[in-house]
Amino acid sequence: MSPRAARLWISSPPLVYLLVFFAIPALIMVLASFRYAGELGGLAPLVGSGDPDELAGLTLENYQRFFGDSIYLELFLKSFLYASTTTVLCLVLAYPLALTIARSHAKWRDLLVLLVILPFWSNFLIRVYAWMIILGPQSAFTRVFNGALGLAGIEPVALLFSPVAVVIGLVYVHLPFMVLPLYANLEKHDPSLLDAAQDLGAGAWQRFWRVTFPLSLPGVYAGAALVFIPALGIFAIPDILGGTDGLLVGNVIKQQFLDARDWPFGSVLSIVLTVLAVLFAGMAAWVARGQRL
């Protein structure tokens, strides 16, 4: 077998599979966003549909609807806010953990990393469901929390089905995405830099903010992208832990596809989400590259 033939035979099957079951569906979704919804929902049939005056049954109506109503802009803004809050909280929680692992003895590190990854391999729904128990109205946590509020003279609050529950769920599910890239970065730091800083009179606080943290920025950006992008499109967490007013982009996409059955508009929302995700990934990569100079 010539190298060319080998190359063709080995790379074609996965290539064809991913073209058919990933790339083509994605392109069809782009096409769908320019089409009309079918009479019974879904998509209008490709041939002989729509207004005959329209060019091949294509329309900009769905995009006009998206950009014409501030409701959808607000929806994306809200999702953006939830995803950013999640990213910041993940960073605050993940940093000490990553630092602990990176500074612990070499023989413990692999085990400590594995301990971060393990919960994240348990089923996603189970991890969200666990918070339903913890934040539920009768749980010990909620009673203690509301008891504390009562001592402070504040009315008891419902924790479950609230924005707070959604953010806790988002942070919980995405935390390992932040810990791992941070750890990978922190592990490579040269400890003699900290010794040098100490010799030059830097206190612990200064050593952290002027040596460790700036050096760890590529890890921070990588982690931020890994948390922010999936958090932006999530629908199951607001669906399970959120209240009725806690719908995010993912929930509305789900509604458009499964309940309202307006697929063209659902496609528009999905495409805007994709564009944002790719934009943020690109931005994180670009900023991280700049930092490495």
Binding site: S11, F22, P25, R103, M132
Partner: protein
Amino acid sequence: MRRRPWLVWTAGVLTYLFLYVPLIIVVVYSFNDSRLNAEWVGFTTHWYGELLRDEQMIEAAWNSLLIGVVASAVSTVLGTMAGYAIYRFRLRLLPILVVMPIAIPEILMGVSLLIFFVMLNLTLGLVSIILSHIAFCVGFVAIVVRSRLSGMDESLIEAARDLGATPVQAFRLVTLPLIMPGIVAGALMAFTLSIDDFVITFFTAGVDSVTLPLQIYSMIKIAVTPEVNAVSTLLMLLTLVLIVIATRLAPGSFRGK
């Protein structure tokens, strides 16, 4: 621990607690003799027995198993080919196609596959779920196999070729045995991902096919019973066993999901 990092250390330990306490609560309550997930009443295995009598749950488990076995088998073959091709040849499109499904929000793949299957007039069910699972598992297998290959000593292949092995023989007798742990780890990973997948399955399952995550979802949404705790505990146990095997075979392969 040269400096006094007790503050950082305490925060680190608290974060581990944050990661594990919720899961421990699920496991503990799966043995709780109470309908409510509120406080500990007494020990029972009643909810596990309840699981075995729940026909829908059994059907969901069989579906998940079937989907997991078929999807992981096919994606292991395709993913190994992809990982090898990316390692060996200079390719433009394949490396991008392999990571894209992993990089974008899952819901996008779910809805685009939904449109695609409906356009093809394919009845949504086990087949569409399996086809979708293969599509997102291939990339993970390819990445594990690719990293295993890059750790391989290239001179072994050259030695085999010098001794008269054909490229196919060199692959079969040298490369394949060397990367086998990576392939098996990739297969286990694909199986775990398939068994656990909720989002993409949710969109491609149609109305008649139920998998374990879909069943758990509808139980959570409609009425929470401790049966959810029991099935969750079993599912966690299964995943744990698979990961331990995979990490033994190919250390580091479960680093990034």
